[in-house]
Amino acid sequence: MVKEIERKGIAVVHVCTVTPISLTVGANRIVPAVAIPHPLGNPKLNPQEEFTLRKKLVEKALQALTTPVSEQHVFES
């Protein structure tokens, strides 16, 4: 899905936990997520902490969109 969106010229960032799959399917901007059933959250945190974590991850995804890449890149924390 990532590839078809990028093919149309839209900048796309893949936020996912199993980054090896993302690399295999051909995403170019990849941001590692928290866990498979809750990629952008962590139920162990209190709601405020969890929101902060999510916002940070989204900001990181946005940062990836503003970063030039020439090949596949995983934006590790």
Binding site: H14, T24, P37, P39, K55
Partner: protein
């Protein structure tokens, strides 16, 4: 014949520990055949015995790749098998990735390994060089035809017998070329193929051209505060009640749902339709998959120009590559028309 030892790798489901709620189970082992292993034993040569089964949750394996690999390596060293059989994983992506990694670990230990997967399983592309992957159907309904082929190949590997080419043994091409003697020289074979092709007869190429489908990275966004950002997910978030009945696996459609005016996705308004992961956390707080709350705040702060008033969603669970491609192409065409320049795509 000398007795040979076989070890089987299974996920939490086939290992009879539990469903998605047990996907976080760390690796464990038992000194006997379990689940599909029982059927596999019946398909192994007489001198091959399943001496152990390693079971790990699909979630745990993929989220803790290093820890899981270390534990599996240790267990394999203890069992010291002559061959490892992982799966079959059919079209289960996380399970296929785990089976492939187990094959890689076995390969590093000098032990041959066999798995079974549907050709679109990402585990095929990622790990095919390390193990033999028997081609299976896309669901466990194909178990009955998978086990005989896997058992036969595992038996040959355990006994050190020569392995034939992919089409003969039923495994997916590993991209390895072997020199063989042919009856005719290359130029004659090429002409024969060309004539067959011109006559419209069936023919088999000797060297399929590898197909690398890569897309150039899109240019970086220079100023996000001027840009509309959309969210697309394969995590199956839908309005409560799943009005368009997007299937829990092998989704035949995608949905487009309004988030206009919403500051957050509430548990009352949204849920997940995905059948391939434990839905508890996404149902409690759908922002964990489609982060509307965070994006809305970033929109208010002016970090992004605008959050696109709809999100697109499908269930990425055994969904065929052809369908996923079709949905995304339609979604992308619509986004281009709407002037969306940036997409966050979340996957579970």
């Amino acid at each position: 014949m000398e007795a040979k030892r076989v070890v089987v790798y299974l996920n939490q489901f086939f290992g009879q520990i539990g469903g998605e709620d047990k996907a976080d189970t760390p690796p464990q082992s038992v000194a006997k055949a379990v689940g599909p292993g029982v059927g596999l034993q019946a398909n192994l040569p007489e001198n091959c015995t399943i001496v152990g089964t390693i079971i790990c949750g699909d979630g745990y394996f993929n989220e803790n790749l290093e820890e899981a690999s270390t534990a599996v390596r240790q267990m394999l060293e203890e069992f010291a098998p002559h061959v490892v059989v992982a799966g079959p994983a059919f079209n289960a992506g996380r399970y296929g990735m785990a089976c492939g990694m187990v094959g890689k670990i076995a390969h590093e230990l000098g032990i041959p390994a066999v798995s079974g997967m549907y050709p679109e399983n990402p585990g095929v592309e990622a790990y095919r060089q390390y193990l033999y992957i028997i081609e299976t159907g896309n669901s466990a309904a194909a178990m009955r035809s998978a086990l005989p082929a896997m058992g036969k190949l595992a038996g040959k590997l355990a006994n050190g017998e020569p392995i034939g080419p992919p089409a003969e043994e039923g495994y997916l091409s590993r991209g390895i070329r072997k020199n063989v003697f042919a009856d005719k020289r290359g130029s004659e074979r090429a002409i024969d193929l060309l004539l067959q092709k011109l006559k419209g007869e069936p023919f088999t190429t000797e060297y399929p051209i590898p197909h690398f489908d890569r897309v150039e990275p899109a240019a970086a966004i220079s100023d996000l505060s001027q840009v509309t950002v959309a969210v697309v997910t394969s995590g199956g978030i839908v309005p409560k009640g799943n009005p368009d009945r997007i299937e829990a696996s092998s989704a035949s459609r995608y949905g487009k749902y309004s988030i206009a005016g919403l500051d957050t996705l509430t548990a009352e308004g949204f849920e997940t339709a995905h059948g391939g992961y434990d839905p508890v956390y996404a149902n409690q707080n759908p922002n964990r998959v489609v982060p509307v709350d965070a994006l809305r705040e970033l929109e208010k702060e002016g970090k992004i120009g605008r959050l696109f008033p709809y999100f697109y969603t499908t269930v990425g669970n055994g969904t065929s590559v052809a369908n996923a491609r079709k949905y995304a192409a339609e979604i992308a065409a619509e986004l281009v028309n709407e002037g969306v320049q940036a997409v966050i795509l979340t996957s579970t």
